[in-house]
């Protein structure tokens, strides 16, 4: 994030009870606002950051992914060119984490290296548009973004998917999606809830 060639950056780090020395590292950067959360949960941590941010745009970066140097600048250009846009995504490039070896590496398959990045890490969104959809649902352990994105679609948010790779997505053994089979139950819940909302809407 600090490598972004876009200068004015409000940077919040939400430390969700991590044990990897995050606090020590962050202390070295005076530009970072640091928050420590004892209560676990990804959606909770994301919401914490959203509520405390002051900038007009929101971007998210999970602990394991990377932004390309010109990500924010590229996306902000598109917002400037088209004021009706609510959110701008970019492609992601998936890479196997370099520390992987042996059987683990064999097991992890990357089906497509580069693909449209419908993920939080690739999104930049106007804050006022974000609030039209609302916070991430804390009851979602795995499908937080899928749930949020479905709600964004129901709100008819205007999006743009840029063909440029803007985010590098690390594939490793602890990708939440990979390790937690329960995510499928979350996925099904998310889709059911969205269908129910749409059915209710179509009835009224």
């Amino acid at each position: 994030m600090l490598d972004q060639n876009h200068a004015a950056l409000e940077l919040l780090v939400i430390d969700n009870a991590s044990t990897d020395g995050t606090a020590e590292i962050v202390r070295g950067f005076s530009s970072i606002r640091y928050f420590y959360l004892e209560e676990k949960g990804l959606a909770n941590a994301l919401n914490h950051g959203v509520e405390r941010s002051q900038d007009a745009f929101l971007g998210f970066l999970d602990a394991d992914d990377l932004w390309i140097q010109n990500k924010l600048a590229t996306q902000l250009e598109r917002f400037a060119a088209n004021p009706s846009l609510d959110m701008v995504f970019g492609h992601i490039e998936q890479f196997l984490s370099p520390e992987l070896e042996g059987p683990v590496k064999q097991r992890l398959r990357i089906r497509r290296k580069e693909l449209p990045g419908y993920v939080k890490s690739s999104m930049l969104i106007r804050k006022e548009s974000f609030w039209r959809v609302g916070l991430f649902d804390k009851s979602m352990e795995f499908a937080d973004f899928i749930d949020w994105y479905m709600r964004a679609q129901e709100e008819n948010l205007q999006e743009l998917m840029l063909p440029d790779v803007l985010t590098l997505r690390r594939i490793h053994e602890t990708n939440m999606g990979y390790t937690e089979r329960n995510q499928r139950i979350d996925y099904a819940r998310v889709h059911k809830r969205s269908l129910d909302r749409r059915r209710r809407l179509s009835k009224t």
């Binding site: 693909l115 419908y118 990979y178």
Partner: protein, 127 residues
């Protein structure tokens, strides 16, 4: 949901009843009986709608049909109580919808390690 292709589906009206029976490994005849018992209406239309729905579900790789003798579940499937004519609801044809708008998100995860011939939820490596 089909995590292999990113589609998700909605089954409403009598399709919900039919899906419930499918989950219980009911035979085609059993599902026909259930529809005839639960709904008032033309049984010929119900049977035709049922066959069409089964074909549509199979085409989407959501179910696989087997010969009844191989399933042997007819005895296990709970038999619905027969409702008297005035208790039956008016027949509503099965409604099956397919949605593809979440494909890009659902196919993103490197999690889809399901074996091709089994499909979800038999993840690779799981017993």
């Amino acid at each position: 949901m089909n995590l292999g292709n990113g589609n998700y589906y909605s089954l409403t009206q009598s399709a919900a009843v039919i899906w419930e029976s499918i989950q219980q490994h009911a035979t085609l005849e059993h599902i026909q009986d259930r529809l005839h018992m639960q709904y008032s209406g033309d049984t010929g239309v119900m049977n035709k709608d049922l066959t069409d729905l089964i074909q549509a579900l199979e085409a989407e790789h959501l179910i696989r049909c087997q010969a009844a003798s191989k399933v042997g579940s007819q005895d296990d499937a709970p038999v619905a109580e027969e409702l008297s004519a005035h208790e039956r609801e008016a027949y509503q044809p099965p409604l099956f919808e397919r949605f593809t708008d979440m494909e890009d998100l659902l196919l993103l995860d490197p999690v889809h390690e399901a074996e091709d011939d089994k499909g979800w939820p038999h993840a690779k490596g799981s017993p």
